[in-house]
């Protein structure tokens, strides 16, 4: 049952701290300016309107101050980042055509063979370019489009033009502006009317160029009555200087559709993970963010749902684990912009070995949004004296016809529970791991099997490091 290899990887230092020496075909110099942005757009042979969007966003990025309300971002040096890199020039439609070296990298990351077969398509971002993309035939027949974002723009320009930036405009925040200016890669997923994608679609992301930020851009459109589950998993090699990951994910869930977006980010502990994720849910649509934050040095991420029309529902279930030197500043935002809308926020955080977690959440109910239901529950578990947790819930309720509940708890591991488990022959660390696993079970039970197993193992390993 014990996976020795995983154990080694997960104990102590970041486990995926290798990087291979693949030549970067278009290696840009460090720093950001208009020339860089124009060059990115040119290499991608983008339409003029996209270039203009990028340039406009660059100006917004320059004009906005660094956000001061959240985690400490003082160590980010925008001049010390490479804004574009590409590992391979061409796209690979067939697994056999993928270079062996890249396959080896995936091997090291432990992406299981069975998973590849099980999953309908794999869009893997290696450096800033998507190198491999395959969509199973039956999905193609259904009209589902699952491409990297660059190809999405080329092949479905009209759809992209209609929705790109419609959920998260460039001016939303400094990092959304930065992403819009220099975005590269990410996924484009289009699910036609009434189509149910039965298997989760999955993409792996990885940073692999020294000092290279990754600015992927994802756009998901679920047409009326459709459903899809998109999974994103991250892993990055260790570098001594800080890397920046600043993604934007926009989701449009049209009438009666259901979209689930699952993330477990496990960036290495020098990465700034500053991500804007937001969805619009229309009439009777359901948007479900399942968001796990384990890695990174600093994460600031608050998946949001705009409930646009009656009957829309938004759910954000998240877990954050902050260890030594980490600050997980995460949470959720729900905007009730129509009557008869409902939402649920469940946040679980664990801090240990001096780590810090912050739950930051916002619930807004518009004056005309009657009969709204909203439940917020955030629980923090602090494992030792050196660690800390904050809760920053913000609610703005503009009418009386609402049912809102907010529950928050901060706790330590219960010594009576530990004794109980230990008296059954479990070691202290195993008992602690089991209590932590129980604590995050509301999150884990929503995960697909292989993710759940992986996460539980990860918690086991994490706990191993924190005892003794």
């Amino acid at each position: 049952m014990e996976n020795v290899q995983l154990k080694q990887k997960l104990s102590g230092e970041y486990q995926f701290g290798f990087h291979d020496d693949i030549d970067n075909v278009f290696e840009f110099k460090k720093g950001l300016n208009e020339k860089v942005v124009r060059q990115i757009s040119k290499i991608k042979k983008e339409p003029e309107w996209m270039l203009q969007k990028r340039l406009e966003a660059l100006n917004i990025f320059y004009s906005k101050p660094m956000p001061k309300w959240g985690a400490d971002l003082g160590h980010i040096d925008f001049d010390d980042i490479i804004y574009y890199a590409s590992a391979t020039k061409k796209q690979y439609g067939n697994w056999d055509d993928v270079p062996q070296k890249l396959k080896d990298t995936f091997e090291k990351l432990g992406i299981p063979e069975a998973e590849r077969k099980f999953l309908a398509g794999v869009g893997s971002q290696y450096d800033s370019e998507v190198i491999y993309h395959k969509l199973r035939e039956d999905l193609e027949k259904q009209g589902v489009v699952f491409l990297d974002m660059d190809s999405g723009l080329r092949e479905h320009e009209d759809i992209v033009r209609k929705y790109f930036g419609s959920v998260i405009p460039s001016g939303d925040n400094k990092f959304a502006a930065l992403n819009t200016a220099v975005w590269s890669g990410g996924s484009f997923l289009y699910v036609p009317k009434g189509v149910h994608v039965e298997v989760p679609l999955q993409a792996y992301f990885r940073i692999n160029t020294k000092n290279m930020g990754q600015f992927e851009r994802t756009l998901i459109i679920a047409e009326p009555g459709s459903s899809v589950h998109y999974q994103e998993g991250c892993s990055a090699p260790v570098y001594t200087t800080d890397a920046l990951h600043s993604a934007v994910v926009e989701i449009i869930a049209l009438e009666g559709s259901r979209v689930q977006y699952t993330t477990i980010q496990n960036w290495s502990n020098d990465v700034y993970n500053l991500v804007t994720k937001r969805a619009k849910a229309y009439k009777d649509a359901t948007m479900f963010w399942l968001d796990g934050n384990i890695g990174s040095r600093v994460t600031m991420k608050y998946p949001a749902v705009l409930l646009m029309e009656p009957g829309a529902r938004g759910e954000v279930v998240s877990v954050a684990i902050a260890g030594k030197g980490q600050h997980q500043d995460a949470g959720a935002k729900i905007f009730h912009l129509a009557p008869n809308t409902s939402s649920l926020i469940t946040s679980k955080s664990i801090s240990k070995d001096g780590g810090r977690t912050t739950y930051r959440g916002k619930v807004y109910v518009a004056p005309y949004a009657f009969n709204v239901k909203c439940n917020v529950e955030c629980d923090a578990l602090i494992l030792d004296e050196q660690s800390a947790s904050d809760t920053v819930p913000y609610m703005e309720i503009q009418n009386d016809d609402v049912s809102i509940s907010h529950e928050a708890s901060v706790s330590k591991l219960d010594s009576e529970k530990l004794f109980y488990l230990q008296s059954r022959g479990l070691s202290e660390q195993k008992a602690k791991a089991m209590l932590v696993q129980g604590f995050i079970e509301p999150f884990v039970k929503q995960l697909p099997m292989e993710y759940a197993v992986e996460l539980n193992r990860l918690v086991d390993m994490e706990m191993e490091g924190s005892v003794g």
Partner: protein
């Protein structure tokens, strides 16, 4: 022929040795313990061997539960003096899991709730943790074992997937403790008021389950209780009366019957008398404990 005879002798001898090896002994020797500076155990002496059933009876607040928690190594208690031996080795420095792995088990009076951890997952982990790799069970095999034991205890199979004790009724929790005991197959089990909160039917099931373990695997039992009721189902070999942190009188079933008839009040007197007749010079006099009596 004499040669043949010799061979048989050797065989018999080996079997005898095997049987002795299977006898485990848990011994509490003149044990004093305190919690937050307050003395709670005041010189406990008790020896339990494989296959024996001991009943420890006493009024509320006498320290009965403390004794079983201390034997398993509860971190809240400080051992002031004395010793606890398992098969001759002092276990005072052992962690609770080492004691459990050696074969001690505590059926809790108030089993804690562990939301998010299923009964099956928890028990499988505990089962496999205390076994060498080659004797560990796969999910499938373990579930079969679990299902069988649950059947014996008249527990619905769905219970295996419920979170450990979370939202269980009092009776379900107690039955769950016996289930854990049956699965983990300890050598010596301390059952802390397992009978309280059980209705007659549940009591019989629990007692039968326990009696089976005593009979089949020679489980040694310390039955901590203040109602003699369970003793009709699970006949003890020894009955101890526990008052104010120590055993004041030991006997057989007749002692339990006496408690049943007259309550603890009268026995405390006799107990105190009994103590005074064989009192050690260093024992403190027993203060009256009337308020705690039935």
């Amino acid at each position: 022929m004499p040669q043949n005879r010799k061979r048989i002798d050797v065989e018999t001898k080996t079997m005898a040795i095997k049987l002795t090896q299977e006898t485990h002994t848990m011994q509490v020797k003149d044990l004093y313990a305190s919690v937050q500076g307050k003395a709670v155990l005041k010189g406990v002496n008790l020896t339990i061997k494989s296959g024996e059933v001991h009943a420890l009876m006493g009024p509320n607040g006498s320290g009965k539960s403390t004794l079983s928690a201390v034997i398993l190594g509860h971190p809240s208690y400080t051992i002031e003096s004395g010793d606890i031996l398992f098969n001759g080795d002092s276990i005072l420095q052992w962690t609770p899991e080492q004691r459990a792995k050696a074969g001690l088990f505590l059926a809790f009076q108030y089993p804690v709730e562990v939301p998010g951890v299923s009964v099956a997952n928890f028990l499988r982990t505990a089962y496999n943790e205390s076994r060498p790799k080659e004797r560990q069970l796969s999910v499938m095999k373990f579930n079969a074992l679990l299902e069988q034991e649950m059947k014996t205890l008249h527990m619905p199979p769905a219970m295996a997937e419920r979170y450990l004790n979370d939202g269980f009724s009092g009776g379900e929790k107690k039955r769950g403790e016996i289930l854990q005991m049956a699965i983990l197959s300890p050598k010596i089990a301390l059952m802390d008021e397992t009978d309280s909160g059980l209705d007659v039917d549940a009591l019989r099931i629990v007692a039968d389950g326990c009696a089976q373990l005593v009979k089949k695997s020679r489980l040694g039992v310390l039955l901590v209780t203040h109602y003699p009721r369970i003793l009709h189902y699970l006949k003890p070999d020894h009955v101890h009366l526990f008052v104010d942190g120590k055993i004041v009188q030991s006997g057989g079933m007749d002692l339990a019957e006496q408690v049943e008839k007259t309550g603890y009040g009268s026995l405390e007197k006799t107990g105190a008398k009994a103590m005074s007749t064989k009192a050690k010079p260093n024992t403190t006099p027993t203060p009256p404990h009337r308020e705690a009596c039935l």
